[in-house]
């Protein structure tokens, strides 16, 4: 008799070299890809060096991405970047990405075909959960965990229980992956899925484009989840086949798999959603947001810096102007996306509208650089967190939304929807 399992349990079992695992068990697993960025890698490298191991476990299974403070914002961050660069050279790390071919980590790794279905990916970045969109298990950890993986290729995990989310119904106009995930976080709360898996399913989830799935899996951590995951369908297969050298392993939840709970969400009445300060679960429909003057709009990040996001923005901003007094900052998530946006005329449209286009970077999302808010300023952003001080001054405010809402808001000068244009 085989034990019924969820997709997450199957991936974990296969990487623990076990027939089955169940929630609550502590297991040791082999890691297919470990990643770290310019904030977390220097600490991970220090840990690796403390372990006094000569070589990394596998130079082809490590990704080091400079993305948070690039192009280096000051001397201190340049020194951190140098620690990474030197380590990458010394160990001949295959997937080392610096300016030119680098972008936001969770945008470029799938884009370059480095994650395939069935993989187990561990990253020193909380949004590592993004790769669940491809039917992979991926979870964020800290630098010490990744430092140990650099040496051993292994880590320990507690098998999470799964909350299954079933999205049914018909999406309204201008409602997409970002709205669904904000709505879901609002429903569950920021710790509602703590230590658990969010499995995205249902007829609506199956129709979402890959870019929208990345957005949803990306924000699973905002409900406290360990990972978010979609079962890999034909769309995921096509995405992977176009990009990856590896085939991947396609796992699916058994029909009798045990879920901690199943939440059915009818999307018929879901409006575009906005998360109000200062928490991603503080959501409300866009029509109920107060009218106040915006100072800044940010479109980009590992959540919404992909080509479809820019297409939506271009569509809305075509022939329109950003409201006077509003700074619109658009940051393509990777050089490829940037190039595509130029070829499709999106960048020109955005520039005509009055946007400023930044190089691929996490930049303002975490208040790093390239768009910091002053005291009392208010911004709407397609990023993932609106904690106190996240984008700058502790007395500034960040509202989270989809690219459609953010773009319309840039024109309106206040938070609003494209239907108001």
């Amino acid at each position: 008799m085989t034990t019924p399992m969820t997709i997450t349990e199957k991936i974990l079992a296969s990487h623990a070299e076990r027939d089955a695992v169940s929630p609550g068990e502590l297991i040791e697993v082999n890691v297919d890809l470990a990643l770290a960025n310019d904030i977390t890698a220097p600490l991970a490298i220090r840990v690796f060096e403390e372990l006094e191991v000569e070589k990394v476990f596998d130079r082809e299974k490590i990704a080091l991405i400079l993305d948070h403070f690039v192009p280096n914002k000051d001397i201190a961050s340049a020194e951190q970047a140098r620690i990474m660069t030197e380590f990458a050279r010394r160990h001949d790390i295959k997937h080392y990405f610096d300016l030119g071919d680098s972008g936001i980590e969770h945008v470029i790794l799938p884009e370059k075909g480095l994650v395939v279905p069935g993989d187990l990916v561990i990253g020193a970045d909380s949004h590592t959960c993004t790769y669940g969109a491809l039917g992979a298990f991926s979870a964020g950890v800290g630098s010490t965990d990744v430092g140990v993986i650099l040496a051993t290729g292994r880590t320990w995990l507690k098998v999470p229980s799964t909350i299954k989310l079933e999205y049914e119904g018909r999406l309204r106009q201008w409602v997409g992956g970002k709205d669904l995930i904000l709505y879901t976080i609002g429903l569950l709360g920021v710790e509602g899925a703590a230590y658990k898996t969010l499995e995205f399913s249902g007829e609506v989830a199956g129709k979402l484009t890959m870019d929208q799935r990345f957005t949803m899996a990306n924000m699973a951590v905002e409900a406290g989840a360990k990972n978010g995951i979609f079962e890999p369908d034909d769309m995921a297969r096509a995405y992977v086949n176009e990009r990856a050298e590896r085939q991947g392993t396609y796992f699916y939840s058994d029909s009798d798999a045990v879920f901690e709970k199943v939440v059915r969400i009818n999307v018929d009445d879901i409006e575009p959603q906005v998360a109000l300060p200062h928490s991603p679960d503080n959501v409300c429909p866009v029509s109920r947001v107060d009218h106040f003057r915006l100072d800044q709009v940010v479109i980009g990040s590992c959540t919404n810096g992909r080509i479809e996001d820019l297409r939506v923005s271009g569509e809305i901003l075509k022939g329109r102007k950003v409201a006077r007094g509003v700074r619109l900052i658009v940051i393509p998530g990777s050089p490829d996306i940037y190039k595509k946006a130029i070829q499709e005329g999106i960048i020109e449209t955005l520039l005509e509208a009055g946007a400023v286009i930044g190089p691929p970077t996490c930049g303002p999302c975490l208040g790093g650089h390239m768009g910091i808010l002053a005291e009392g300023e208010k911004a709407i952003s397609t990023t993932n967190r609106n904690f106190i001080g996240r984008m700058g001054h502790p007395k500034s405010e960040v509202y989270l939304s989809s690219p459609a809402i953010a773009s319309a808001s840039a024109v309106l000068g206040r938070i609003g929807s494209p239907v108001e244009l």
Binding site: L43, S126, G140, V148, W156, V190, E191, Y195, G224, F387
Partner: protein, 164 residues
């Protein structure tokens, strides 16, 4: 593993951006990080925290980013132990990995107030105020995690055990 210090009280959902804002993450030296611990929400913290002091907080402490700089900053500032109703997942791992003791207790969050002198025993889980008028037991630490703490963090654990 017994600690004693004054309580610094915090609420629910203390995120890692509050613990150490991202603009200070351009360094990874723990003493530099400690200078900016809670810089935006409690500018008085870094200058006044004494070695051994204890943070007592509500639910979901350490939510948000995976930055290990957050527990590192707290530890380097001199905090001996963080007691919360619950911890966010990545922070929980990070704290054990770097050897910052943490305990989960609802009673402590309910009963202890700012500035109170409190002791906490990591092995027995006993948390008490001076004179033990208030005395609680934290949720037991899983065996595996206790071994990491006893080894002095994940690096030493891995070095000793020769596994993972």
């Amino acid at each position: 593993m017994k600690y004693e210090g004054r309580v610094w009280k915090y609420g629910d959902h203390v995120d890692t951006d509050l613990i150490i804002p991202a603009r200070f993450l351009n360094v990874s030296d723990k003493d530099e990080l400690a200078k900016n611990c809670f810089a935006d929400v409690r500018p008085d913290f870094a200058g006044n925290v004494k070695p051994g002091d204890i943070i007592v907080a509500g639910v979901n402490f350490g939510c948000g980013s995976s930055r290990e700089h957050a527990p590192l900053a707290i530890k380097a500032a001199g905090v001996s132990v963080v007691i919360a109703r619950s911890f966010a997942r990545i922070f929980y791992r990070n704290a054990f990995n770097i050897g910052l003791p943490i305990l989960e207790s609802n009673e402590a969050a309910d009963e202890f107030s700012e500035g109170e002198l409190v002791s906490a025993d990591l092995i027995t889980g006993e948390i008490a105020c001076e004179g033990k008028k208030k005395r609680f037991f934290a949720k037991p630490i899983p065996d595996f995690m206790r071994k990491i703490v006893e080894a002095g963090g994940l690096v030493r654990y891995v070095k000793n055990k020769d596994s993972l």
